[in-house]
């Protein structure tokens, strides 16, 4: 599977116009084709494509994914692996904010149905769902970093200062909050709809008739049951968050996988694109295998089948 993926990416990259040398040249400061040919030869791009691919594959099976063409010989594997952490951190905080905020707003909206609060939350949710990540990112950057100066405009740490958790958080909160908006809005709508349906169920009416306090009815009897479809939604949100994270990382210069891949594509850094895609592909395959195993453990019928 991974070999097929790597072959597909390799072919697609070579079909795309421009190569790393083309990306290297400043069009305002011309360079001769002969000089470019010498650079290509040094990188092995003058070889036939099958030979280039086999050379890459031979090294890849030994764990050597090559080095970045645009980053002065930095090895691809550590380069990609060091970017996983920041992306996971950004996505994790964004999802936490989305889940907490979305569920809380959904409960409030459902409980205060048709009130000003409900209408306000619903309008905000529609705006959130309708706003593409690149738009919220740019607007958020302008408002919170440039105008209000509440948050740094980019990066993961303040350059040149020693690491501190507060510094990391100050850089993380704004992109995470902005990334969470769309997800929070979606979760809020699901939560509201689901809770409204549950609140009309007989067992909720029974609980109220028995004199259970309203707060307890909402939390224990209604919310727990209303959460089931929301949990399914949260699962699918993780995949969507990856796409959003790419925009956020680009706008906020957050050093994650998204920024690495976007930069690599911009500069046609073939080894980095190949390496990053391979590792992401491996992760997806691994997660799918683990999911299948988990299903089998949870549901014996699957094992039997």
């Amino acid at each position: 599977m991974l070999v097929a993926l790597s072959m597909l990416v390799f072919v697609l990259l070579r079909l795309a116009p421009g190569d790393p040398i083309d990306a290297y040249i400043n069009p305002n400061v011309a360079m001769s084709q002969a000089e470019m040919a010498a650079l290509r030869a040094r990188l092995g791009f003058d070889q036939p494509l099958p030979i280039q691919y086999l050379a890459w594959l031979r090294a890849a099976v030994t764990g050597d994914l090559g080095y970045s063409i645009q980053k002065n010989g930095v090895k691809v594997l550590p380069l990609v692996l060091e970017r996983v952490g920041p992306t996971v951190l950004l996505m994790f905080l964004a999802l936490v904010i989305a889940i907490v905020g979305g569920i809380a707003a959904g409960i409030i909206s459902a409980v205060q149905r048709n009130s000003a609060t409900d209408v306000g939350c619903s309008v905000a949710a529609f705006v959130g769902i309708s706003s593409p990540p690149f738009l919220t990112a740019i607007l958020g950057l302008y408002v919170f970093s440039v105008v209000l100066r509440w948050s740094p405009s980019g990066g993961m740490l303040t350059p040149g200062t020693p690491f501190s958790l507060s510094d990391l958080l100050s850089h993380l909160v704004l992109p995470a909050c902005l990334l969470s908006i769309g997800h929070a809005a979606l979760i809020m709508r699901y939560m509201r709809a689901s809770l409204l349906e549950v609140l009309n169920q007989d067992y909720v009416r029974t609980a109220r008739a028995k004199g259970v306090k309203e707060l307890w009815v909402i939390i224990k009897h209604a919310t727990r049951n209303a959460l089931l479809p929301v949990v399914t939604l949260i699962g699918s949100s993780i995949g969507m968050a990856v796409g959003g994270a790419i925009f956020m990382e680009s706008v906020f210069n957050w050093p994650g996988m998204g920024l690495l891949l976007v930069n690599a594509v911009d500069t046609r850094d073939y080894p980095v694109i190949m390496g990053a895609t391979l590792i992401i592909g491996a992760c997806v395959i691994l997660v799918n295998i683990l999911t299948d195993v988990a299903y089998a453990l949870v549901d014996p019928r699957i094992r039997v089948a």
Partner: protein
């Protein structure tokens, strides 16, 4: 109502939690200068190897130094690591007297380092972009520790300009690498050693590069303790950081300038780009063979109107490849906007039969909003005289991939909107216009073969008398104006914006970032 109170409290806690997670960012000290030094067309984020650099020289020159360098006006070449230099009358022997300096690791800088660097730069295995440019170097001699003599096999009027981009490297640190290893070595981005006023401290991948003051720099200890070069995905992000007060300098697009002009906390730095923008006629398609068609394109475009309305007047119309006064002779055809004349010329040339109103792709790599407006204006003006161009914007690698392909599809770029460096060394245009520079030898990708233009360039390049050089390039200008290998448009100004707290800061929008003597040791940040 308890439930309402609880829900409000829950919302409040969520909001407060998010807010409390945002403590103020760790502040940088007053003696740290932070900028986007590699933002914009002159920058080259992520490249640390000066032998392979096609840009980014503003930043590289903060910790590396060349033998000679341009002054900050880009009008003359002066000493850098060489305190003085002499050239023999035949322009084939350059003698440099070297400054007394130590490398950042304390080892002495000597003439052997210069010899080592030049030989390294000539060796294609290092991934150098200097191999062809230094092709005329026949020998490098080191009569003593402070003297270097570079001999050329033939005169090269652009030799000193090439040397300004060649950063001198330490032999003692690099001699153990093979040339091939150097091309991919991490040394450049982990512990490079230079002689500049600041020394390398660290590179945080895709985030920033940090330099610290070299305490024993020969021109005095730098006023700032540290200089940090922050990386940005695009100019807009750098502008946001500047407006947020996180950096003290960045290149900005001309559209951004009004937001900074007249503000006390910012100083707008304006300078000529030294890049001439042109519409390039691909000579491999039959459209542009007749000079009257090329003239019609010039007459059809109201360049001054575009300059006034889209560049805010901050550009100079170009009637040849140059706009510098000493390179532009009297009596050039100014090609004043005259659509009627354009139509007449097209009719004379039989444009209806050559192409008529069939669409012609106008390819460009310029992708800013301003460039989009320029392209739209050019499209509309040409349409008025019966030339139907369709702009196509692609990214730089795609553009380069198309025009520099081994077997290009010329129909993909019958007309291009592009730019080429026209200064401070005027010979920069030769590679794109001289018939001898047709690929693979050079970058004359439009396959222009105009004998008058080629002869004018050849004469200028062979000129050994510096007094005559401007006159030679005036002839180039005349030939370009008459033959129109390109429809030259303008040379636009470029901009940087610096905080007014930044004192004695020198920045010039030089092509590829220069280099030029910016004297970073004098830069200071006022409290």
């Amino acid at each position: 109502m308890p439930l309402k109170m609880m829900t409000l409290a829950l919302a409040g806690v969520a909001l407060a939690g998010a807010t409390m997670l945002t403590p103020p960012a760790a502040a940088q000290d007053q003696k740290t200068i932070t900028g986007g030094f590699d933002v914009g067309p002159g920058g080259f984020q992520g490249n640390f190897n000066p032998l392979a650099a096609t840009g980014g020289f503003t930043w590289l020159n903060v910790y590396f130094e060349p033998l000679v360098n341009y002054n900050a006006d880009l009008t003359a070449i002066e000493g850098a690591m060489a305190t003085e230099y002499a050239v023999n009358p035949g322009q084939t022997e350059y003698t440099f007297k070297l400054a007394k300096e130590t490398w950042h690791d304390g080892k002495p800088f000597t003439s052997k380092d210069v010899k080592f660097t030049v030989e390294l730069a000539k060796n294609g295995e290092t991934g150098t972009v200097f191999a062809a440019r230094l092709g005329a170097v026949s020998s490098v001699e080191t009569p003593d520790e402070r003297t270097v003599v570079i001999k050329l096999s033939k005169p090269d009027s652009g030799f000193l300009a090439t040397l300004t981009k060649l950063m001198i490297l330490p032999e003692h640190a690099l001699a153990s690498f093979t040339p091939k290893e150097l091309a991919t070595s991490t040394w450049w981005a982990t512990n490079p050693i230079g002689t500049g006023p600041f020394k390398f401290k660290q590179y945080v991948t895709d985030q920033y590069v940090e330099l610290v003051a070299d305490e024993d720099y020969r021109l005095g200890r730098p006023k700032a303790d540290r200089v940090i070069n922050r990386y940005f995905k695009n100019t807009a992000a750098a502008v946001s950081a500047l407006r947020a007060g996180e950096i003290q300098f960045t290149y900005v697009e001309s559209d951004d300038v009004p937001a900074f002009k007249g503000k006390n906390e910012f100083k707008v730095i304006e300078g000529q780009s030294f890049v001439v923008n042109y519409l390039g006629f691909n000579q491999q398609v039959p459209l542009w063979k007749d000079v009257r068609v090329r003239q019609a394109v010039m007459y059809a475009i109201d360049r001054q109107a575009i300059i006034d309305s889209l560049y805010g007047g901050a550009a100079t119309a170009a009637n040849c490849g140059y706009v510098a006064k000493q390179l532009v002779p009297e009596g050039l055809n100014a090609y004043k906007f005259d659509p009627a004349k354009a139509k007449a010329l097209l009719a004379e040339a039989g444009w209806d039969k050559v192409n008529g109103t069939k669409p012609i792709t106008l390819l460009t790599y310029y992708n800013t909003p301003q460039a989009a407006n320029v392209m739209a204006a050019v499209q509309a003006m040409l349409a008025q005289v019966g030339i139907n161009v369709v702009p196509r914007v692609v990214d730089t690698p795609t553009y380069n991939g198309m025009i520099y392909a081994a077997s290009p599809d010329f129909n993909q770029f019958p007309l291009v909107y592009a730019g080429l460096q026209n200064g401070p060394d005027p010979s920069g245009l030769n590679i794109g216009l001289n018939a001898a520079q047709k690929p693979p030898a050079g970058a004359n990708f439009l396959r222009i073969e105009m004998p008058e233009v080629t002869q004018a360039f050849d004469a200028a390049l062979a000129e050994t008398n510096q007094q005559q050089l401007s006159a030679r390039y005036q002839n180039v200008c005349k030939a370009m104006n008459a033959n129109l290998p390109w429809a030259t448009m303008w040379v636009a100004n470029r901009y940087g914006v610096a905080s007014t707290k930044l004192k004695d800061f020198v920045w010039v929008p030089a092509p590829a970032g220069g280099p030029y003597n910016a004297h970073p040791e004098k830069w200071a940040l006022e409290k």
